[in-house]
């Protein structure tokens, strides 16, 4: 398996290296679907230039990266391409190990469930076998590395690749059971782009499960666990923010990064839902709608943590997807991260109902993005409504994908307990329907 992984890594690095040397680099670097004002490479270069001149990079309202990223590239600017390729490799390897470890956890849980006879007698086709699960880690790494979205993000040198790498290492630390490392990398990820704060809940639930702590709000062990993790996370976050203060001797990075993410002043079109809305809105209602949209990202955490408290890895996947869909400046790199998890849920294929429609919607909207952009900006025969229509179609496709997998997951759990051949009261065959 390691050999196949190395082969996949070599192929991925070759593809990226070839594209880095081609003439497509400038074209891809300025695509609004791939870079956003938060993670564009041009702005990083601009910030570095301002830093070299001794001016604060945040004074021009152009640079929105955190000071740590600024200093990282200050030292590594000559090797930028290697850095981004290395980030992709790190993410892929981390996700590989995560999938491998998670498979073992799944087996253990299944064995325990069998021993306690929790499953219905006729669910033999639903049970997961080692043969079926052997190739999942490789598929996860493959899905991430050879996803066109990831390749585009790497070639455009968007710092979304670094965000993905930090999140992947955070998931790895969580899966390995180390609460401290998990808190450190979660703090780094949240420091970098704020929205991974929502991943606190799935990580907490996973660690609780790993350390055999029963998830119950009235049990002191769990509350202690929660407090420990929260204190570690907040402490690391404070340390990193104070470090950033000492790097540049001012707090001006906070309004430029977090203020920018939360108040959405820049309305450049992207694949998200914010830009068109706020471009059409009256100033009077702007604050209200900014609050509504931002709450929408974090709103699903609580209901999902109640519903999926025994399935924290799936919760992590759904939460990543929700962040990628509803964040203020999404790019295709965020989409690529949660799509890498899809091979882990291959066994749900028989319960998926809309997968054909979703695939067609996602592929056609991805292809139509540059076409409608060309028609709007260059040919002048379309306008922003056309582009937003494609954006809406893309996001609706993503939401359908996530909800389809959610339905399939819940349904499989139901069938495991109740059995596959459901009979109603009068002995006739029954269907399971989402209501």
């Amino acid at each position: 398996m390691a050999a196949s992984l190395v082969l996949v890594l070599v192929v991925a690095v070759t593809v990226r290296a070839v594209l880095f040397r081609s003439s497509l680099v400038e074209f891809i670097s300025e695509r609004v679907e791939v870079v956003s004002p938060l993670n564009s490479w041009k702005r990083v270069v601009e910030g570095l230039a301002l830093l070299d001149l001794g001016v604060s990079p945040y004074s021009g309202n152009l640079f929105h990266e955190t000071p740590l990223t600024l200093y990282l590239f200050h030292f590594l600017i000559d090797y930028a391409e290697f850095v981004f390729m290395a980030m992709d490799v790190i993410t892929a390897v981390a996700l590989y190990i995560v999938a491998d470890d998670f498979n073992k956890v799944v087996f253990r849980k299944q064995r325990i469930a069998f021993e306690f006879q929790k499953y219905a007698p006729d669910v033999i086709t639903l049970v997961r076998t080692p043969k079926e699960m052997y190739h999942i880690p490789l598929k996860v790494a493959l899905f991430y590395l050879l996803n066109p979205f990831t390749v585009l993000t790497c070639v455009a040198k968007s710092t979304c690749a670094i965000n993905n790498a930090v999140i992947a290492i955070f998931i790895l630390a969580t899966v390995k059971g180390s609460a401290f490392l998990s808190a450190v990398f979660l703090a780094l990820a949240a420091y970098q782009s704020l929205y991974p704060v929502a991943l606190f809940a799935p990580a907490l639930l996973y660690l609780a499960q790993k350390h055999y702590v029963l998830v119950n709000l009235h049990s002191t062990t769990f509350l202690l666990h929660l407090l420990k993790y929260a204190v570690m996370f907040l402490g690391c976050l404070m340390v990193i923010i104070c470090l950033s203060f000492f790097l540049l001797n001012s707090w001006s990075f906070i309004p430029s990064t977090y203020g920018f993410i939360l108040s959405v002043p820049d309305l450049t079109p992207n694949i998200g839902l914010f830009w068109y809305f706020f471009a059409e809105m009256f100033e009077h209602f702007r604050l209200f709608f900014v609050c509504v949209f931002q709450i929408n990202v974090f709103f699903y955490t609580l209901p999902l943590s109640v519903k999926l408290r025994d399935h924290p890895m799936f919760f992590m996947f759904v939460q990543l997807a929700i962040i990628a869909i509803f964040k203020s400046y999404p790019t295709v790199g965020d989409v690529a991260l949660y799509m890498a998890f899809l091979p882990m849920w291959n066994h749900l294929y028989r319960f998926l109902r809309n997968i054909f429609v979703v695939t067609c919607m996602l592929i056609s909207s991805s292809v139509l993005f540059p076409v409608l952009w060309h028609l709007w900006i260059y040919a002048g025969s379309a306008n922003s409504n056309f582009y937003y229509a494609i954006t809406l179609a893309f996001n609706v496709g993503q939401i359908l994908l996530v909800s389809d997998y959610f339905y399939a997951y819940i349904r499989r759990e139901y069938h495991l307990i109740e059995g596959l051949n459901l009979k109603s009261k009068d002995g006739k065959e029954a269907h399971v329907v989402l209501k």
Partner: protein, 411 residues
């Protein structure tokens, strides 16, 4: 969300017995459901009841999730497939033909909402001057061979414009029928009318091509416009009157020099088509046909948005061929039809039809030569100005056609 058990057969009384189960995975079971007159619920003890869904959500979820309704819809679509296909095709073609009818087209259309038609004063009355310039232009043009550079420079300087010339040369990858040489040399002539009080950072370019087509009337009109504009004083931007040699090649050379870039090095890099999927179901040709039809739909949708005529021609010809592609009966007929509908045959037939309709019929040999010339011109256009027609047809449409060919010859 709750999962409900439906009994499709229904109870004897016709009531639908609905047992809704809330929650997902509980570690224990509560008491079995107690049926009341119609609806009963049973709760697992460990889960939290979720808020009720709204009516629109129910409607939406019903359409996508209710298996009975989905089955009915699917059956309807499958039964009416052929009539629907016919109707859509005929509707599309007749809608396009309808574009030629009076109510749908406007012979003259101005879309400038800042310009009210009552506020326009017509002041340009120098049509005769334009015609005389045109006659002089064509006379000098015939004398000088291609482009009357000295005469243009003299005329425009005489009008009071700042006149310049620009020589350029381009190396073509192969000599084509029209130019018959590898290197194309030309001269652009342009005159600048400076705006008196503006910084010359932006300008408006009025241009006419000279050389390939004898376009002397347009050149005459441009000179007459130049002389008229020279008489006005309130210009906000500079105006450049450009006579470009060799049509698009000269235009590109002038723009490159103006913007100080080099676009001929940047050739559109086209990704070749991805390979066929290796795992196919038992009815392999059906999967292949599904993929190729979806791919064709996506391609046609995208190209129609950018270049409508190309999309329409491809759609009208390839869609019947794709719909009929099957390995089953009359394989040779279908293969022949597919060959007839391939892009190159369509191009040949279009050339023939065009010449027939222009009442200038040509022989088959001439038609073939024109076909080769058209293909060579499109390759040249791609090389010179990154036009996407040729790479699009070769790299995207032909693989689709090949997929359909594979479907027809499936064994």
């Amino acid at each position: 969300m709750c999962a409900a058990l439906y009994c499709p057969g229904g109870a004897a009384s016709g009531l639908r017995r609905e047992v809704s189960v809330r929650g997902g995975v509980g570690w224990g079971r509560s008491e079995p459901p107690f049926p009341s007159s119609g609806v009963g619920t049973c709760q697992y003890s460990h889960s939290v009841p979720l808020p009720p869904v709204s009516l629109s959500q129910v409607a939406e979820m019903g359409l996508l999730s209710d298996p009975n309704r989905r089955q009915v819809l699917t059956n309807l679509l499958t039964r009416m497939n052929t009539p629907l296909c016919f109707m859509c095709y005929i509707a599309g073609v007749s809608w396009f033909m309808g574009l030629a009818f009076e109510p749908f087209i406007l012979r003259m259309y101005t879309s400038e909402n800042a310009m009210g038609s009552t506020m326009v004063d017509e002041n340009f009355v120098y049509g005769d001057r334009a015609l005389s310039y045109a006659r002089e232009f064509s006379a000098h043009g015939k004398k000088a061979g291609e482009m009357p550079v000295e005469w243009l420079v003299k005329t425009m300087s005489g009008l009071g414009l700042e006149t310049h010339t620009q020589t350029f040369s381009r190396t073509l990858p192969f000599p084509d029928e029209i130019r018959e040489r590898y290197m194309v040399k030309g001269t652009n002539v342009y005159g600048i009318l400076r705006a008196s009080r503006a910084a010359s950072t932006e300008s408006i370019v009025l241009s006419t091509p000279v050389g390939i087509r004898q376009n002397s009337q347009a050149a005459g009109l441009l000179l007459a416009l130049a002389s008229y504009f020279r008489g006005q004083i309130h210009w906000a931007k500079d105006i450049i009157f450009l006579f470009n040699d060799h049509d698009m090649i000269g235009m590109e050379a002038w723009l490159e020099a103006y913007h100080d870039v080099n676009v001929t090095a940047c050739v559109l890099c086209c990704f070749p088509d991805s390979g066929l999927p290796t795992e196919l179901a038992a009815h392999g040709w059906m999967t292949l046909k599904l993929i190729s039809v979806l791919y064709l739909a996506l391609l046609l949708g995208c190209i129609t948005l950018i270049n409508f005529s190309l999309g329409f021609i491809l759609a009208v010809t390839l869609i019947p061929a794709a719909a009929l592609a099957e390995p089953a009966p009359h394989r040779t007929l279908k293969a022949l039809f597919l060959i007839l509908m391939s892009p190159i045959t369509i191009l040949l037939m279009c050339i023939y039809l065009y010449h027939e309709l222009a009442e200038y019929p040509i022989t088959l040999l001439e038609c073939w030569q024109l076909l080769l010339q058209a293909v060579a011109e499109s390759i040249l256009d791609h090389h010179l100005y990154s036009s996407i027609v040729y790479p699009f047809v070769v790299f995207f449409i032909y693989p689709c056609w090949l997929l359909l060919w594979n479907v027809v010859f499936w064994n």
